[in-house]
Point group: C2
Chain length 428, copies 2
């Protein structure tokens, strides 16, 4: 109807509506049509004397930093690592939950297997085969409370096996480093270049890495680096693979997991980036030398993940809902990524953009003399939440910002990047 | 109709139906009437040469013992610590989940507060005020994955505070002891008599106890012992209170928690005995010296409990469904307890019964020379699962069995106790 009125093709109108929906200006109501949603973008709160110090964003963040940042109010939250939460498939979840509650044997409400509910372990093994090229028996899988718990369990078990250090990528995830250190492990930094981790620089007995989409730089571990890593592992090195957002790849086929070629890898994944972090469900695969100890660590941690949510998720993985969900959000995430790239090109032309091929965030670096902690603190004071790249570094390096786009509308992204552009100022 | 046919009062028929439903022979279908359920009790499998050694029930159980016992097949499972799982309020749960999914802000699907979702912490604080006499601000509550996780978190934090030992009740829970030991703490035993833990025997810097219904003996910590404990705490002793099944009390008013009189207590409770262990939800209250460290420990453990189930539970706690559920199962549990007492009196007259006033299990002790590990192993070989009392002892003491009744029908209970009676043989 609108297409006829405007004398354009139906596809153009559909695209335009989709753009409005992506931006939060409109909401699809199926056959009932599309409604306009009131989502006013407020002007930035006045901040005449821009504070260069923030109580939240500081140069040496402690264990509570992510909670403090989360609790800080902001108009536009560009924190990385969160998918589009408005897309959570509430109806499909409820349908699956009803089916689970109708079918469940009473005994499943009792104490269960600390490794996870058998249907969930089967669903994960099939998911990993279809989506990550990994062949693993359900018996090799431990259902865990996300990659965070997997790291804590691995830290505990590795320490008991005499490992005192796990090398990490530099730059690399501050949160992962905090988890390993809390477990009493040193985290010596290993540089990352355009082909990923410099395997030749590895000196520690173990290494944690993100081969499919390096956090935060977004590079892929290259073919020759993979071969070097396999040779390092065959001489006794312990590889921990965090496959944290491997399913979110836009412009080419997914990169296979290192675990698909190397069964000795301790492999971690979760639904935090597929569906929602609040579910606290992930999986851990480990080779025989560590498996029994990891099961014991999981038992003492919490006696196993809650059962109902595992059974609901297993249904969504087995009946195709989760893959459908992934297709839906992938399109939306890609359009938001494009919006961020456009905004950065126009508002922050001095920034170099990294890691656009996949994931839920972009990283930008600056050539000029920028203090990224001060920049992120000033942005927060203007109502825009971003992470300074230096948080994720152990050794000095270029300043930058880590910018999540997946959970925000294109309008919010443009607005947030404009604030950053104003704060950085014109290129020299 | 049936009442008129049999010329008895409607109450008698209702009671009879209730007994049938309790026994699993019939299932209520509301106004649709009552249907007979096929639940044949199979004869014991033949075991001509009764094995005195079991691969599962052994004198020195390891960390995997509860998983191994759970996995062992049995006709009648009298394992203690599980409520009637057939009573799980599936319809109420699904209704609450639908309401939560309809109302939830998208941001709640993201990373959350490691202390738990605010509505759940509020609901727990109100629940504790109504049911356990505890006045605690929601800000003092940490939502955890059951008492098992609470013990692991407390163990970690106490160790960092220089505590190397937590005294435990003897007899006392093997599982709790395993958790503390896994955390690197010694667990010196302190005797229990009819008034509970002998506080005067405390030598360790901390103590874990079950004041409302001692596990496994079922005694209540007496008034003078409570005063002794408060005096011990005021001179620096650290009290950990496991209020594991305090809500299940049959013949008199609930015993208040020690925490209700002593705010310095680290207090643990859960929904495992109220609703279902598979939910893995509990709560931990801790005084200021430990609180921040416990929050950090919870953060590193799993970043916080899953959010959806917390919000569903909060609704059930706030709208009266959980208290209604408790009234329903309390009646059923009491009838099952009575059935077990009757069966013990007739089939195992040599046994002394302990702890009948509350809880989900009974403990029996034997005067005669009985090896309770051999007895439990022989019972398992005959298809009846029970725990030997000696598992829960650190020092020698009377042999006995710990017998759960809450999850089994009166018929199963009678059948299981008859097997035990046959194995023990006639009194001397």
């Amino acid at each position: 109807m609108l297409a006829a009125e405007l004398r354009v093709s139906r596809g153009v109108v559909t695209d335009a509506y989709q753009r409005l929906i992506d931006d939060g200006h409109a909401a699809g109501r199926g056959r009932a049509g599309t409604v306009v949603v009131a989502a006013p973008v407020l002007p930035p709160s006045p901040s005449p004397d821009r504070p260069s110090r923030s109580p939240v964003i500081t140069p040496l963040p402690g264990a509570e930093v992510f909670d403090a940042v989360r609790a800080a109010p902001a108009r536009i939250d560009l924190t990385p690592g969160v998918p589009d939460l408005t897309a959570f498939p509430r109806a499909a979840w409820l349908r699956a939950e009803r089916a689970v509650l109708e079918e469940l044997e009473p005994s499943h409400f009792g104490y269960g297997d600390p490794r996870g509910a058998p249907p969930m372990r089967l669903a994960v093994s099939r998911w990993l085969a279809r989506n990550r090229g990994i062949r693993a028996d359900p018996g090799e899988i431990i259902v865990v409370a996300g990659v965070a718990q997997a790291l804590t369990l691995l830290g505990e078990v590795l320490r008991h096996h005499g490992v005192d250090a796990v090398a990490v990528e530099d730059p690399g995830s501050l949160g992962a480093r905090q988890h390993l250190r809390h477990g009493g492990l040193a985290t010596p930094p290993v540089p990352v270049d355009d082909d990923g981790l410099l395997v030749s620089e590895l000196r520690a007995p173990a290494v944690l890495l993100t081969p499919a989409h390096q956090f935060p730089m977004g590079v892929v571990l290259g073919g020759s680096r993979r071969r070097e890593l396999m040779s390092w592992a065959s001489s006794g090195g312990i590889v921990l693979e965090d496959d944290y957002d491997a399913e979110h790849r836009y412009d080419r086929a997914p990169v296979p997991a290192v675990r698909s070629m190397l069964p000795e890898v301790c492999y971690m994944g979760s639904v935090s980036k597929l569906l929602a972090p609040a579910l606290r469900v992930g999986w851990l695969l480990a080779p025989p030398p560590f498996f029994a100890d990891l099961v014991a660590a999981k038992r003492f941690a919490d006696l196993g993940n809650p059962v109902l949510a595992q059974l609901v998720l297993a249904r969504l993985m087995e009946n195709g809902e989760l893959e459908r969900q992934l297709r839906v959000v992938r399109g939306r995430h890609r359009r938001r990524r494009d919006a961020m790239i456009r905004a950065l090109a126009s508002e922050l032309p001095s920034a170099v953009v990294h890691g656009a091929a996949a994931g839920l965030h972009l990283t930008v670096t600056f050539d000029a003399d920028v203090d990224d902690v001060e920049l992120a603190a000033a942005a927060l004071a203007e109502g825009v939440k971003v992470q300074p790249l230096s948080w994720h570094r152990q050794r000095p390096g270029r300043a930058g910002l880590v910018l999540g786009y997946a959970a925000r509308t294109a309008t919010e992204i443009a607005e947030g990047v404009a604030v950053l552009g104003r704060l950085v100022g014109p290129s020299p």
